[in-house]
Symmetry: C2
Subunit: 356 residues, 2 copies
């Protein structure tokens, strides 16, 4: 295949350190698998507000559109919390999702045996966790019409609207069904069909789409029940597919079950460039001190190789090296426990490279 | 005070057994505290569909309006899952909330030391859980305008709308602040203000209302973060106040942390009659066999004494008796473990009465 180009968006806080470490791992993994890629660095979030006055400069969008994949650190921080709403750092995230048409957010949530003890759940419950959450990322109440607080007939009120169309549901459920093949073949579609019209449409379309996948078993679950089952019986889930808002809540709930939120990657996919980022935030309080855990970003780079660079070999190589580094006892500050080897962000990256 | 009258709505599935047990406990507790009440039984849910053709007969609404309080078992079951949407059993619940103006759902989530071992969480995390979730129950996306799936410009789509007005937010936040006094004095207001206009109104109004409560410390949290913190650090929460939809999800998530969902009560309050019900469902699979746990309903009756019958003495009496019954080793099937005394629904009620 022709030469690949990726965009790195370090973002804010620990973003610079973790993307630097992940880039080095990615370059080493590419080389070892006989390939290579070029990259350019672009700004988004607070860093872009400071430099360009806006959180998502056109230049960044353009570069991302042309690239084969985007690796993002994290955006946001207290110094940008009080800017005007349309300039807030998270607009960069929402903007990128829309501009790049990233309609599917994939979050694999698995437990690293070496870290299972750090889960808030009992060992016997957490050991079986291996969930892929597929969150719709380009629609729903995130992008519906809104009425900011304003006085109507003497009463101050605000309004948001949740909208879903058949094609939006079809494409995300199809993606979830495809992802289930090669896993346990089970898809749980999560909605609130006993209350919401959008959920009733969602449920109907999901059932229709699943008919096309004879290897996939689809079931439906209410979001409140799912929030319970994730804690009670997380090992029962395989693939979960759900709306933008429910996915936001459930994927964060599911993430903490693993006990290793600093290690969890994500991929946001559409018809063009894919975007890859760890699920944790920009942690401004520990930025610049080498304390950040780069493994979530490194595993995001693995997803980038798999889904955007067609280099499954490099993806597997990285994933196995991360597992090995943990088994060998290396820990950044966030997951450190007595008896293990404490390493910096950079050193953790080097230890992964040494095991590729 | 004049003579009190309550309405009992057994509902479906195990509803009949658990309300029968709770009624006997309530009568005994009233007598022991030198009071009494009259009651009448009304239908709602599947039972009402079978008898009246609709899930919430006018007669039931009228009786509830006139009563001092309503004790409900649970509604719904598979035999009513395929009736027309407007006849579904949960319409009874949503209808009662609206007809009685029940704008506040209170769910105390505490851990019974005798049952803490049944929590999916590690003991050291679960032991500190003592949360009161205050969910807005009369507004938001539950009651906003909806467009059922229909073809618009050739595309099938559906729409729901979330609406909140200042008075709606004011009254629920005020109630949460009042509830926090006498607890730890901390209120966490949960929203998605980085995305939703309704959440931005909610956050602004909540901050204003909290100013009137100098003993209360208000903080704001995003719903996705709250879904994480409930699992990671549930002991850090005191009172949580949130919207109808977020409350639906978070209160069920929080409920399972305790390990004793069969014991959790709830109160739904408005300006008139209050409604009290356990948080679990109608469990049709075990109905009529004496297997159901009546303690959630019995503790709901305690809340009824406290909030609707001004009989705090009876409330405390019931709560202490339930704790004692558990400490004495009595268990219904759902919470039974070897070494304990297994009792039926009815017998569990009698054991509580014996300890009043
Ligand atoms: C920053 C915020 C708008 C975003 C979201 O709600 O989608 C975040 O919580 C996430 O999940 O990526
Ligand atoms: C039955 C359903 C409509 C209801 C709700 O969503 O409010 C239930 O989940 C609850 O929490 O009482």
């Amino acid at each position: 295949s022709s030469s690949k180009n990726i965009v790195i968006i370090p973002g804010d806080g620990i973003g610079t350190e973790i993307t630097a470490a992940a880039l080095q791992v990615a370059q080493a993994a590419a080389a070892q698998s006989g390939s290579s890629f070029t990259y350019e660095t672009k700004q988004a979030g607070g860093a872009a507000i400071d430099e360009y006055g806006i959180p998502l400069p056109a230049e960044t969008i353009e570069a991302c559109r042309k690239a084969d994949g985007v690796l993002l650190g994290a955006v946001g921080g207290p110094q940008w919390d009080h800017v005007a709403p349309e300039l807030r750092a998270e607009k960069a995230i929402l903007g990128l999702r829309k501009e790049l048409g990233l309609y599917a957010n994939l979050r694999p949530i698995k437990v690293f045996p070496a870290l299972a003890g750090q889960s808030p759940l009992k060992a016997e419950i957490v050991s079986a966790v291996n969930i892929l959450i597929v969150r719709e990322l380009n629609g729903g109440i995130y992008y519906g019409a809104r009425q900011e607080a304003s006085v109507v007939n003497g009463v101050e009120q605000a309004c948001d609207s949740e909208m879903y169309s058949r094609p939006e549901v079809e494409r995300i459920v199809r993606l979830a069904c495809r992802a289930a093949i090669g896993r346990k073949g089970r898809v749980t579609s999560v909605d609130k069909a006993n209350v919401l019209a959008t959920s009733r449409l969602w449920r109907k379309v999901a059932a229709e789409i699943a008919q096309d996948f004879s290897e996939v078993e689809l079931s439906h679950m209410y979001v409140d029940n799912c929030a319970m089952q994730l804690v009670l019986n997380p090992g029962n889930f395989d693939v979960i597919v759900t709306s933008n808002l429910f996915g936001d809540i459930l994927s964060d709930e599911a993430a903490v079950l693993s006990g290793s939120i600093g290690l969890l990657p994500s991929a946001s996919l559409g018809d063009g460039t894919g975007l890859y980022e760890p699920i944790h935030g920009s942690a401004p309080d520990i930025a610049g001190q080498g304390l950040a855990n780069p493994l979530g970003t490194i595993l995001s780079a693995a997803m980038l190789f798999r889904y955007s660079l067609s280099n499954t070999q490099a993806a597997i190589m990285i994933e196995q090296a991360v597992e090995q580094v943990l088994n060998d006892g290396y820990r950044t500050a966030d997951i450190f426990q007595p008896g293990f080897t404490k390493v910096s962000t950079e050193e953790m990256g080097r230890q992964v490279i040494a095991r590729l």
